[in-house]
């Protein structure tokens, strides 16, 4: 192996892990802070069903919100998203391990993540570590294929192949309430200590504030096991400790003119060990990472008359990552890299109702990203200017709804040194359609076509002795047809929902990094992938016993994601790395008086860790069962909730990413009090 690859491999790989935004991992929490005291709290002590009544929108969407979200054995947003169909979570394991989502096998970079309506960008590596987003302050998670099917949104909302929307909890006050809040504490395996505090304050009739903060500490240790039937080695994961703090504050206002606005500041600070791959004779790695993420964002929405609505958004982000590798000693001492990113973003979106059935919208975003690096030779210090303009229209013709948009993207790139990427512009279309054949029945047939690309990241283009400034964007084309049926009734089946989509997607000019020997780590637009898939899910809430509310969810995903890069190669039409053909999840929930019981099951079928389907690259299927029991009671008029979780009940040892062992059986206890 060429000597350069040691340092480059390690630090580049870490970069992929580094520099993500984050809230930190925490557990699900008690009833929404919106829950009022006494009477309402007492009402909450009755059994509930977890699925909410939602109509089927234009594009395929999966949602976890409110009670459903809190009933799942999930520490972070990443854990919750595993239960969706059509997704694969790439998980490096443990409290601090990177967790990213790959939607429909197109690659992590094609999924945008929005926090309260504004994108969490990362020009450095194009991914967001969903493991850092605590569910503590999240009210709802939506995953849209194609895009959110609304017109009034920033141009960024039209600009990715799929999108995750995270919505933070908004304060709600009943009657004369002025102040309420919640204190929670979690502990469990991995040496977890995780206190959190949330305060909500009504400042006036039209203005309220919320402050949410938490601290997460853990030694990250857990047992893992590797065996081939003859050797059978159990060891403890080391150098996986994490210490992270999050503080978040928001203001929510309503104007007298029916406008609404919100402003938010967010700060995250963490230090963590990077435990690395478990390889023969080496179970300990000495890398460490420090992150600081800060952003402020604001949003303003105002309708003018009955026809015109304006939505303004702005954001500033600062990211800092420090990376230390004590195993690599350079002439300046142990390898230490520092990266700093800034993002400035403004957006204006306008929607105009031409007739009762015809809407048009125009959105324009402007964004500046820059990045600097310390101790990185020949780093170009790039700045990227992105201008996005989206023109969209929507027609409601009786049972048929049509939506289409054209997105113009203009990228201008400069560097302080060395070669800058070429300027780039493109116009890309999306068409969404749905048809409701029977009036009064929420049954919809839907279809979409979307053509979109992702820009090469700063790492792809400029990371010293790895990046390639000549890279082109990576394109995806998606064709989807599906159906959604939802029914609420007072009979045996209180809730029933069926969603099914079949799709074909093509990824071209896929940006491929090949680490290795003399092939000098180059980044190239050489890959192409054909994806044939089916996402299907059924959710139901049957009345099996009158006193017990029950819910069931079954999801299934079929993915044939075939490498069609080179017809002459041995792996032509082989399944690409880390994509199982079959995967799925099952959830059962029962609620009786003050008690809730939840069972979750995930299955991920056999995979290969490289794009060639040979036994040497084979990875076994894995499946885990999680159970939780929770109870609520009133303690001096305060709602108290206690939860106990046992995860990976059958103690299955498995890797999601090769040589990054996942925890076996582990537990977690949560106590919270609302006031």
């Amino acid at each position: 192996m060429d000597n350069r690859h040691y340092i480059r491999y390690v630090s580049f790989f870490i970069l992929c892990i580094a520099a993500n935004y984050g809230l930190h991992a925490q557990d699900k929490v008690a009833y929404p802070a919106t829950s009022p005291k006494d009477t309402a709290a007492a009402r909450m002590l009755q059994g509930v069903t977890i699925f909410s009544n939602r109509t089927n929108p234009l594009s395929p969407v999966q949602t976890l919100s409110g009670i459903a979200l809190e009933k799942m054995n999930s520490l972070s947003v990443a854990d919750a998203l595993r239960f969706f169909s059509g997704v694969q979570l790439k998980d490096y394991g443990g409290l601090g391990g990177l967790k990213t989502l790959n939607v429909r096998s197109m690659g992590t970079n094609h999924t945008a993540v929005f926090y309260d309506g504004i994108q969490l960008g990362n020009a450095q590596n194009g991914t967001v570590d969903l493991g850092r987003f605590s569910l503590d302050n999240i009210e709802q998670i939506d995953l849209y294929n194609a895009q959110k099917g609304t017109l009034l949104q920033p141009a960024r909302g039209f600009a990715s192949a799929s999108a995750i929307y995270l919505q933070s909890r908004k304060p709600v006050f009943h009657g004369n309430e002025k102040t309420h809040g919640k204190v929670s504490f979690k502990t469990g395996s991995f040496g977890l200590v995780n206190p959190a505090v949330r305060m909500e304050q009504r400042l006036s009739d039209r203005l309220s504030a919320v402050v949410s903060s938490e601290w997460l500490h853990g030694n990250g240790r857990y047992k893992f096991r590797y065996t081939n039937g003859t050797y059978d080695t159990t060891a403890v994961r080391q150098n996986a400790a994490i210490d992270a703090a999050r503080v978040e504050a928001g203001l929510f206002g309503q104007g007298k003119d029916s406008s609404t606005w919100q402003a938010k500041a967010y700060y995250y600070n963490s230090t963590r060990g990077l435990p690395g791959a478990i390889v023969s004779n080496k179970f300990l790695n000495g890398q460490h990472q420090w992150d600081r993420n800060f952003f402020v964002q604001s949003s303003y929405n105002k309708p003018f008359g009955k026809r015109y609505t304006l939505l303004l958004n702005a954001k500033f982000t600062y990211d800092y990552v420090r990376y230390l590798d004590t195993a690599i000693v350079t002439v300046d001492g142990p390898l230490m890299n520092r990266y700093q990113q800034k993002e400035y973003y403004i957006s204006a979106a306008n929607q105009y109702k031409i007739t009762s059935f015809w809407d048009v919208a125009l959105s324009a975003d402007f964004q500046v990203n820059n990045m600097t690096a310390v101790n990185l030779d020949r780093f170009a210090i790039p700045t990227r200017y992105s201008t996005l303009v989206a023109a969209a229209t929507q027609l409601h013709l009786g049972p048929v709804a049509l939506q289409g948009n054209l997105l113009t993207t203009i990228i201008n790139e400069t560097t302080k040194a060395y070669t800058a990427g070429r300027d780039f512009n493109a116009i890309t279309p999306t068409i969404l359609a749905s048809w409701q054949p029977f009036q009064g029945e929420d049954l919809k047939i839907r279809a979409f076509y979307k053509n979109i690309f992702r820009m090469p990241t700063f790492n792809d283009m400029y990371y010293s002795t790895v990046g390639n400034p000549a890279l082109k964007p990576e394109y995806t084309k998606q064709y989807n047809i599906g159906t959604g049926y939802t029914r609420n009734s007072d009979g045996f089946l209180q809730y029933f929902s069926l969603q099914a989509d079949a799709y074909y997607s093509h990824v071209k000019d896929k940006i491929v990094a090949s680490p290795g020997r003399n092939f000098q780590w180059m980044m190239q637009n050489i890959g192409s992938v054909d994806i044939y898939g089916i996402d299907a899910s059924i959710q139901l809430s049957p009345v099996l016993l009158n006193a017990v509310k029950t819910d069931f969810s079954v999801k299934y995903t079929y993915q044939k994601a075939l490498d069609v890069s080179n017809p002459a190669e041995v792996n032509y039409k082989d399944q690409i790395a880390y994509i199982p053909v079959h995967s799925g999840s099952f959830i059962a929930h029962a609620s009786w008086h003050k008690w809730d019981v939840n069972y979750s099951f995930i299955y991920v079928g056999e995979r290969y860790f490289l794009n060639t389907n040979i036994p040497l690259y084979y990875m076994e299927p894995w499946y885990t069962s999680d159970v939780s029991v929770s109870t609520s009671f009133l303690f001096s008029h305060k709602l108290v909730k206690l939860t106990g979780e046992l995860n990976n009940v059958f103690n299955q040892y498995y890797d999601v990413v090769i040589n990054y062992p996942m925890p076996g059986r582990y537990y977690r206890l949560t106590a919270s009090i609302n006031f």
Binding site: N3, G229, Y231, S280, N518, L610, P615, P621
Partner: protein
């Protein structure tokens, strides 16, 4: 008791059946067997081991074996022969040599030299050297170069060469050399160590360390060129040293050191990624990456080591080189003079091993492991 008295509704039974079915999908722990391919027997030809490096972090170093008696090429033999070795051969195979009836495989990111019986590939033990790179032998002892900066409690930025007892597989003593040392070659009682400085891209090393093998001390550093890699001694008292350049303006080149005077006496303007000396010929290939053009340049050549000059630019004569994306290893059978070349492709696909006649015509090819690169012939 009749089954129905459990009152399990049919839908739950279905679910239970579903989970039982899913649970059955996990085959359980097992040994991944390799493949056997008959590429033809030849009584004159030597058998050989081929070490596949494997991508870093994937623990994918594998060992292949060609048996010239049966004509069978067996891939990934280590796991089956040594089922008790935790996590198999390891992460990134960087060098392999045979000495005194033992096969030594340097597994760089596993911080070990795996020691096997040369006839059976059965594991005999391991030598613990962190960030080990290359191995060579002298008077019954093994010498392993290491990128690690702390040897015997001496902190600093220099790398070292460890002297190892081949019976006990213990490190006896170490000698500090330049930063991130690579290959070593011994001629007379002197060892020549290529220093790369690869951890500090802006400050590559330029020197070859000369070690006096009687005192095991560094006596001299010869200034050669940037980022040195391979060192091979020939039978005329010269040592060939390859420089990788800086991947920007300074190109890869081949240098010749006169070991009598310990000076650089010549250089050949050809990119060299690896070199194999057989008789009076050094077979070389180069895969030179340039961050100026963002392209790889692949080249092949033969050097006449008697007269130190390039003999043409090709030892593959039938056009097969056009099928080889990324040459990653070269070897020449000491008896038949057949030439072996490996192709690592994109470093992610399984590689290919090609066998050429001495005239450079393809005889056969076979699928190898991930990044095939290092040969050790088993002499008759």
């Amino acid at each position: 008791m009749r089954f129905a008295s459990f009152h399990i509704p049919r839908r739950y039974l279905l679910l239970m059946v579903l989970f039982t079915g899913l649970a059955a999908c996990r085959k359980g722990a097992g040994i991944t067997p390799g493949d056997d391919t008959n590429v033809g027997a030849d009584s004159l030809r030597n058998g050989f081991y081929l070490l596949n490096e494997g991508n870093m972090g994937m623990n994918l170093a594998t060992l292949d074996y060609y048996n010239s008696g049966t004509g069978i090429y067996s891939s990934n033999i280590y796991g089956t022969i040594n089922p008790g070795a935790t996590k198999e051969l390891g992460d990134v195979g960087n060098d392999m040599q045979i000495y005194g009836g033992k096969l030594y495989a340097v597994i760089a990111m596993s911080d070990k030299v795996e020691v096997m019986d040369v006839h059976t590939a059965k594991r005999l033990g391991q030598i613990n050297v962190p960030s080990c790179r290359y191995i060579t032998f002298y008077k019954g002892k093994a010498y392993v170069s290491s990128y690690a900066t702390v040897a015997g409690g001496t902190p600093g930025v220099s790398g070292y060469v460890a002297e190892v007892d081949t019976a006990t597989l213990q490190v006896i003593r170490t000698v500090n050399v330049g930063r991130q040392p690579e290959e070593m070659a011994i001629t007379g009682d002197k060892m020549y160590v290529a220093n790369s400085g690869g951890y500090s891209q802006g400050h590559f090393e330029r020197t070859v360390s000369v070690i006096n093998m009687n005192t095991f001390t560094e006596t001299k550093r010869i200034d050669v060129a940037l980022n040195l890699h391979h060192v091979k001694a020939d039978k005329y008292g010269d040592v060939y040293v390859t420089s990788r350049g800086d991947y920007y303006e300074v190109h890869s080149k081949l240098y010749v050191i006169d070991t009598q005077k310990d000076i650089v006496k010549d250089s050949l303007p050809t990119a060299v990624s690896d070199i194999w000396i057989s008789g009076d010929s050094a077979y070389i290939y180069g895969v030179e990456w340039s961050y100026v053009t963002n392209k790889n340049t692949v080249s092949y050549g033969i050097v006449d080591i008697k007269n130190e000059r390039l003999l043409g630019d090709m030892f593959i004569t039938d056009g097969t080189d056009k099928q080889i994306t990324t040459p990653s290893g070269v070897a020449v059978d000491p008896t038949t003079k057949e030439i072996y070349v490996t192709d690592a492709k994109d470093n992610l696909l399984p590689g290919t091993l090609y066998c050429f006649s001495p005239a450079g015509k393809k005889k056969w090819s076979v699928t190898a492991g991930n990044i095939p690169g290092h040969f050790a012939f088993v002499r008759h």
